[in-house]
Structures are given as structure tokens and as C-alpha cells.
Point group: C2
Chain length 258, copies 2
DNA sequence: CGCTAGCTTGATCTCACTCAATAGCAGTGG
DNA sequence: CCACTGCTATTGAGTGAGATCAAGCTAGCG
């Protein structure tokens, strides 16, 4: 079944000042709503890198909000291989879609060691019944995921290897910017070149070549899990990156491309 | 702005016995709920093949339920080309996600001449406030789309040309089965080989070759907008098609692969 | 009848994959 | 301390799936 390692208490979480990150992604969430949602947190968990947090097909009655670390969504195909279909950064409600779906069509795994907040579906039920605005807000959050899925499809079907990697880096930068984990040009990205390859449907070998090209073009460099964007406007341009699908506020959207 | 061609009245729609199709896709929707939703229909529209029903970025206050014909979702990239990210069949609530999002990150267009039911967001608002179960049901429907997006990503990133086309045909067969538009082995598919190419990220030339292969393998044939599956189990097998992501009831799920 | 859209087939090309060798680096254990 | 293992990244050479280019075919239609 699900593997868990309870380590942090809710109090520890507060001490880590994670509420700064918590739900920042849900722009325009009123303070009262945020407090109401935070009050519904029923616990904190951690997972080690590589652990599966939610297994495909298993009925679930909780949802997880990622506070620290990176997570993935991947389908477990009949061939047994892992196929990435999503990447999550701190502030993402990684499996809120399990609330309406009740069982997932894919696995959710920890890419790095991660910390998550746990919401039981019973508690979410109450929140949703009590506060129609917050309910719509949660629905909105799940639709953000879908919008990112669509852009992922676009990336795979219409962009070259170089563009795909550039586009992905632009997206991650924008999403991390929204939660204060990128300064707009540089951020920690705890992924290997093979991971990036899975995201962009490329081999690790080719990712290496593409990253070299981006470096030689003076656009960005990726070294030891850290991305440095040297020319964001240029990077966004070759990637055909337009951040509208992230539904950021205008200020952030502007910073995401220049 | 949005182009519309009002042609049918709600009465005409009833006369067409479309309520058989209407929302069939939303399995397990109680009769009372279905009636409540049908009561919220505020009109019927038609679009001609090629028309854009919803434009990216434009604020919207209605959502459309597809009753007849096929529609697409496609992102309008900076390069000006159309990039498909979704296909809709009758019974699909094509832009219900606009209810929480309020503006879309992509266009919705008519692949064929289509008929849709119109729901205003004001009316949906009332439905959602009055009936928490139906609200969750609507949320669920939008998450089905997301699940299909994920499988689309999987298809593009992990399957060969032959497998992609086979997988897509299996998916359409399953979805049409759910609304009674496939008998389980044969159905009308009003798409050109170029359309299929856009779905599978292949050229029309290569789609032609792949379809020939599928024909020669005795798995299925596609001629004059009609698909005939000769060996569904075989087709599903080579496509690594597993219908779990469609959240069909067990009976339909079984028929979707054999 | 000619025109257009869609489909088919062949020849050639190319982007990214595969295979293979090498190097750096962290951890582990003797 | 070094030796060893495993993981990650890099670079080169050869390969292949699918794209591109081009020509011809078919069917519907004004």
C-alpha cells in the first residue's frame, strides 16, 4: 500500500514558514479563504526521493499539497516503464483531482525528498460545502493542471528538441517565480538530464547536446541541479513560450518572459 | 467575436431524441440530476465545420455541451499554426472548464458541422449551489478531460506511429461506445488522415502508411470517414490501450478492449 | 469537363536514437 | 588512504523512424 514516513508535525511546518509558499500558486486567494483552507490541513508527511505517494487505481480519500521538493505524475504502462505526464513544484496541490475522481489513472511519485500537507476528502467536503467561492477556487486549481497538460501536448507535438527543453525551463521558471522559488532568472531544479529527457520525450544523450546548444547560444545553463537563465526573452522566444496557460497575474506573466 | 448560427430550438433538439446522447458520457448520473441539468439548457446552437466556437483568451460566460458532430481543442501558437490538443465527441461538455477558468488557453473549433447545447454560467452557478452532488459531478467531468490529456501525452511521448494511431482509434471507439455511437467495432469518424496526423503528431503521408499497415495486419480499416475494427483485442494490444483513464463503468471498459 | 481535396506511393533526407567509450563525482568499504 | 561501484554527464559514430518532396491517383462537385 502507500508508503509513508511521518516526520514533521503541523507545528514544524509553521516553523518552516511554509505558509509563505503554501498556496501562493492560487493567486487571488483571499486571506480568509487561505486561512480556512490551512485550517483544514490534517497533517504533514514526507516521502523519500523515488517513493510512490499515490498509486494508480487505488481508491483514495486524501489529497496532498506539495510544500517542499518536486513530485511527478507518471503512467505505469503495460510495458512496465515510467512515463512522465506531469511535474509538480512546491505550492501545487498534487492530487487534488483525486477529490472528484476518487482514484487516479496514474501514479504520483517523489522526484526528490518531499514534504506535503494532507487534506482528507471529508475535510475538503466540508470546506467545499461551506464556501462556494473556495470550492470554485479548488476546481480552478485542478483546471490549471489540465491547462499545463495541454501545453505539454503542444510541446511534444509541435516543438523541436531544443524548443522543448527551452519551453520546459521557461515553464518551470514561471511556476517557481509564482511561489518565490525563482528570482526570475535562476532557480534550483533538482532533476537529472534523464528526468528532463522524460519530460521532453528525449534521450538523456540528446538532452545533454541540447543543453550544450542552449549554453553556447548564451540563453541558459543547467549545472548541478541549478538553472541560470542568461537571456530569458531570447529563451522564451525560441521556445515559443507564452505563459497565458498558467493564468498568472499580469505582473508575474510579464516577468515570466522578460 | 464569437461566430454563431442559431438554427435549432430546444424543441427541435428533443425531437432529434438527443437526450439519449445527452450526458450519457457522465455515467452514473442519476435521472433526477440529469433532468435538473437538462432543465438548465438555455439554448441550442450550430456551427459549421471549421468555425471557431470559443476563442483563446476571450472572457466567456457560457459553456457548450456537444450533441452532434465532432469538435477540437487547439492552441494557436505564435507561429500561427493550429496544434490539436483534444478531440470531442457527442456527449462531451466541450468547454465546461471555462466555468471555473472564465477564459480559455486554447480555441475550441468545429471539426464537422456541429450542434451544441448552451449553458450560461449563471445557470450553472445555480445548479452548482443547489446540488452539491451534481456540482461534484461536473467537476468530475472536467477531470475526465484532464485524464484524457494525460493519456494523450503518454501516446505522444511513448508510442510509435503505428501504436499512436491504434491507440487513438481505440480511445475514440471507447468514447463513442459510451454514447451509443459505436457498436464496439465500427463507427463513423468524420476526420481526414491529416486530422489524425495532427492528433498523433504525424504527417498525413505517414498516417496513410500506418493505416495501410493496420489494414494489412487485419486489425482495422479506415475508409471514407468510417472505422471498422476487425480485431479489437489485437488493436488494443499493440496500442497498449488500457481504458482505465476513461473511467467507464466496468461493462463498457471490458467492451472497449474486446 | 476541369477543379479541388483527400489519399497513395516512391525517393531522399534529417533529427534524434542507439550504441559505445570516457570522465567526473559521491558514497562505501577495506 | 585507495579501490570499487553506481550514477550522471559528455562526446563520437552509425542507424532508423518518420519527415519532406514530388508525382500520380481518386472522387465529389460546380
Amino acid at each position: 500500500m502507500r508508503q509513508r514516513a511521518f516526520c514533521l508535525t503541523l507545528h514544524d511546518l509553521d516553523a518552516m514558514q511554509t505558509s509563505a509558499v503554501l498556496l501562493n500558486r492560487t493567486t487571488e486567494l483571499a486571506d480568509a479563504e487561505r486561512r480556512r483552507l490551512e485550517a483544514a490541513i490534517s497533517g504533514v508527511q514526507t516521502f523519500r526521493a523515488g517513493q510512490i505517494a499515490v498509486r494508480q487505481g487505488v481508491p483514495i480519500n486524501i489529497s496532498l499539497l506539495l510544500v517542499d521538493g518536486f513530485m511527478t505524475r507518471h503512467v505505469d504502462a503495460p510495458d512496465g516503464k515510467r512515463h512522465l505526464v506531469g511535474v509538480h513544484v512546491p505550492g501545487d496541490f498534487v492530487d487534488l483531482h483525486a477529490f472528484p475522481l476518487k482514484r487516479l489513472d496514474h501514479d504520483v511519485g517523489a522526484l526528490t525528498d518531499v514534504t506535503v500537507c494532507v487534506f482528507t476528502h471529508d475535510d475538503l467536503e466540508k470546506v467545499v460545502c461551506d464556501d462556494i467561492d473556495l470550492a470554485r477556487r479548488l476546481w480552478f486549481i485542478t483546471m490549471l493542471d489540465a491547462a499545463q497538460h495541454r501545453q505539454w501536448i503542444y510541446r511534444l507535438s509541435s516543438l523541436s528538441a531544443l524548443q522543448r527543453v527551452a519551453h520546459f525551463l521557461c515553464e518551470v521558471n514561471a511556476r517557481l517565480l509564482a511561489v518565490g522559488l525563482s528570482d526570475g532568472n535562476s532557480f534550483a531544479l533538482p532533476m537529472t538530464q534523464s528526468d528532463i529527457g522524460e519530460v521532453c520525450s528525449l534521450t538523456n544523450v540528446h538532452v545533454s547536446r541540447v543543453l550544450r546548444n542552449l549554453r553556447e547560444m548564451g540563453l541558459c545553463q543547467f549545472r548541478s541541479s541549478h538553472v541560470e537563465i542568461l537571456n530569458l526573452a531570447g529563451l522564451a522566444e525560441i521556445a515559443l513560450f507564452e505563459p497565458g496557460y498558467l493564468y498568472l497575474n499580469p505582473r508575474l506573466a510579464a516577468r515570466a518572459v522578460a
